[in-house]
Symmetry: C2
Subunit: 173 residues, 2 copies
Amino acid sequence: MHPLTKDAAKPAPESAGPMAEALSEARAAAERGEVPVGAVIVERATGAIIAAASNRVVELKDPTAHAELLAIRDACRAKGSERLAGCDLHVTLEPCAMCAQAIAFARIDRVYFGASDPKGGGVEHGARIFAQATCHHRPEVYGGLSEQASADLLRAFFAARRPDTSTEPGDGA
Amino acid sequence: MHPLTKDAAKPAPESAGPMAEALSEARAAAERGEVPVGAVIVERATGAIIAAASNRVVELKDPTAHAELLAIRDACRAKGSERLAGCDLHVTLEPCAMCAQAIAFARIDRVYFGASDPKGGGVEHGARIFAQATCHHRPEVYGGLSEQASADLLRAFFAARRPDTSTEPGDGA
């Protein structure tokens, strides 16, 4: 059943609305000079977005202020619980290992992500957190949703800032 | 040079004071009903403890509120930077993958930890974050410091709460 990657069947249709919101969050991050990554958390029973966040590493001077971590903390506050069972996360970039482990701790049901991140990702790349034998909770994972739009945002951001170097997201996202 | 594990030479002597503080934080967590893990961050040039924290997952209803993450966020606030180069982290339990990745993002120089965590650790076990080819920053790692005291605290905590089950820390730490 998991991980379902972008090679599996089709993107789950219920991602379109939340992913558009996540992209909107990512664009707002870029305008603030942050690596453009956005995330929203949806309570599946109601379809309500209970948290929406984007990267604030620079603004908060906090290396843990990734979109996913901020959204998880907001959603937990909204639910009054450190567990988010019944909730899905939609994020524009493949989560890093820190965020993937936080997703597992929070017991999030499904992860929908946009662009793959070969350099910084921790789901399909690097530490592959959900594939570890010691991972207590493995969400269903759907990758490659709105991939082009998500990747274009990142490319444009890095191209404008570091014209002579890589256009990959690296570790600031 | 790294990772230096508990098998290497001797515990670095400069850990004794900070680790005693981390243990004190861990004991305070146990008294609040939290999995007893404590962490402190030391600025090496001055020897000053710039952050001290313990697990507050239950209190804050936040699955990311591990001792290390809270200490990193506090230390970054204290330094006014999302980077903690020149700083060392002392923690009573092997960091999980989430905290290990945050340690790498924060550019912490050295990690001193107490008890190993075969079930939940992400440094010597599981995702082995610092050993990943995609890890941008690898701190020096010294394990097994005050290991007995750190492990005893965890065992006593779990024995009192779950007398019929495992005494291992699991994912609440």
